[in-house]
C-alpha cells in the first residue's frame, strides 16, 4: 500500500472517529437522539466484529481457510471472556487451546 493511500486511510478514519465523538456535543446539543437510532448503534459492534473475525480467520481462502483449532479457540476465548468478564483471561484461554490443538493436528 502506498504512503499516500495509507495516510489518507488513517486521516479519514481519524476524522470520522473525532466527528462521532464530538458531533452530538458540538452540533446537536441536548436534543435526544431517536430511540431506534441509538438501539441500532448498540448492534453495530457485535455485527461488525463478528463479520471481521470470520474474514480474518478465513484469510482470503474462503470457507476452506477456516480450521477447527480456530473455531474451538474462538469459542473457548469468547466463552471464557464472557463468564469471567475478563478479556485477558479469554485471550489466554483461547490462545492456549489454539496452540494446543494446532500442535496436535
Amino acid at each position: 500500500m502506498s504512503v499516500v493511500s495509507g495516510v489518507a486511510m488513517i486521516l479519514t478514519v481519524g476524522l470520522s472517529t473525532y466527528l462521532f465523538r464530538s458531533g452530538v456535543i458540538l452540533f446537536v446539543g441536548n436534543r435526544p437522539l431517536p430511540d431506534r437510532f441509538v438501539r441500532t448503534l448498540q448492534s453495530v459492534a457485535p455485527a461488525v466484529l463478528s463479520a471481521l473475525i470470520v474474514t480474518m480467520i478465513a484469510g482470503g481462502e474462503g470457507v476452506s481457510g477456516i480450521e477447527l483449532p480456530e473455531i474451538v479457540a474462538l469459542g473457548v476465548g469468547g466463552t471464557t471472556a464472557r463468564l469471567s468478564k475478563n478479556l485477558i483471561l479469554g485471550l489466554a484461554a483461547g490462545m492456549s487451546v489454539f496452540w494446543g490443538l494446532d500442535w496436535l493436528m
Binding site: 495509507g6 486511510m9 464530538s22 466484529l49 463478528s50
Partner: protein, 264 residues
C-alpha cells in the same frame, strides 16, 4: 502544555490560552481531581496493555507501512477500529478497510450523546478538545462521576484522556518494537481474532446483540468469496439489519405495544 502544568498566579486571564480554572496556589499536579483521575484510570488501562501490544505487533505485519499504522494511535486512538484497519489494509480494498473501522467507531455517537449535558456549559475550547479523548474507558469513567463540578469535570476528563492517550502510545510502540521478534509460527494474528471474540461476548446484554453477532458471522461466511473482502461489509450490514428487525419484533410484542393496539 507548559501552561497546563504551570499555575503561576496571574492578574488577568489570558484570553487566548485555555483556562483550566486551577487553584492559584501550588501546581496543578497536586490537584486532588487530577490525582483521582489517574488513580481511577490505572485499573481500567491494565486490561488494554495486551490489546495494545498485539495491535503494535499486528502493525509490523500489516500491509500498511508500519510508521503509518503506528500514527493511527494518534489520529484514530481507538483499539478495535485500529486493529480492524491495520489487519484489513492492503488485504481488503481501501474503502472496505476504512468503512469497517468507521462503522466500528460509530458507537462513539452514543458516548457523545450521553455526555452532551456535561459539555453544554463548558468553554468552547473544551467542547472541541475534550471529545477527542472520549474512548470506551474514559466514557465509563466520566459518565459515572456525577459529583464533579464544571471545572473538576474538565480536569478529570483531560487527565483521564491524556493518561489513556499517552499510555496507549507507549504500549503500541512497545508492540511495534518487540512484536516483530515474536516468531511467526506462534500465529499471533489469531490472538487478534480471539480478542475480538471477547470484545463481542463480554458486553452482550440483549437478544438483538446475539442476533447481530450470529447474522454478521453467518452472512460473511456466505459471502466470503466476494472480491476485496466485501463479504465483511455485507456481513456487518446483515447483522445490523437482523438486530434491527429483532428489536422491532420484540417491541411490537411488548405489553405496552399490545396495550396501544387494543386501545386503537
Amino acid at each position: 502544555m507548559m501552561m497546563l502544568l504551570s499555575t503561576q498566579p496571574t492578574s488577568e486571564p489570558n484570553p487566548i490560552v485555555p483556562q483550566l480554572d486551577v487553584p492559584m496556589h501550588g501546581s496543578i499536579l497536586k490537584d486532588p481531581i487530577l490525582r483521582r483521575a489517574v488513580r481511577e484510570s490505572v485499573p481500567l488501562f491494565i486490561p488494554a496493555i495486551p490489546f495494545g501490544f498485539i495491535l503494535g505487533a499486528a502493525m509490523t505485519r500489516s500491509e500498511l507501512p508500519t510508521w503509518i499504522a503506528w500514527l493511527s494511535s494518534i489520529t484514530v486512538f481507538a483499539g478495535a477500529a485500529q486493529l480492524a484497519m491495520v489487519t484489513s489494509a492492503g488485504v481488503a480494498s481501501w474503502w472496505t478497510a476504512v468503512a469497517t473501522a468507521v462503522v466500528i467507531n460509530s458507537r462513539h455517537i452514543m458516548y457523545s450523546a450521553g455526555l452532551t449535558p456535561r459539555f453544554q456549559n463548558q468553554p468552547r475550547w473544551f467542547r472541541w478538545v475534550g471529545p477527542f479523548f472520549i474512548i470506551d474507558q474514559v466514557f465509563a469513567l466520566v459518565a459515572a462521576r456525577s459529583d464533579l463540578d464544571r471545572r473538576q469535570f474538565r480536569i478529570y476528563t483531560l487527565t483521564a484522556g491524556l493518561f489513556f492517550f499517552s499510555s496507549w502510545l507507549i504500549v503500541t510502540t512497545a508492540g511495534v518494537l518487540l512484536g516483530s521478534a515474536v516468531p511467526t509460527n506462534w500465529k499471533i494474528e489469531m490472538a487478534v481474532a480471539v480478542m475480538f471474540a471477547g470484545l463481542v461476548a463480554i458486553p452482550i446484554q440483549k437478544l438483538s446483540a446475539v442476533v447481530a453477532s450470529v447474522a454478521g458471522a453467518g452472512a460473511s461466511i456466505l459471502f466470503l468469496d466476494l472480491p476485496n473482502r466485501l463479504g465483511l461489509l455485507v456481513g456487518a450490514a446483515a447483522g445490523i439489519m437482523a438486530a434491527f428487525v429483532t428489536d422491532e419484533l420484540i417491541e411490537a410484542r411488548s405489553p405496552a405495544a399490545r396495550s396501544e393496539d387494543s386501545q386503537a
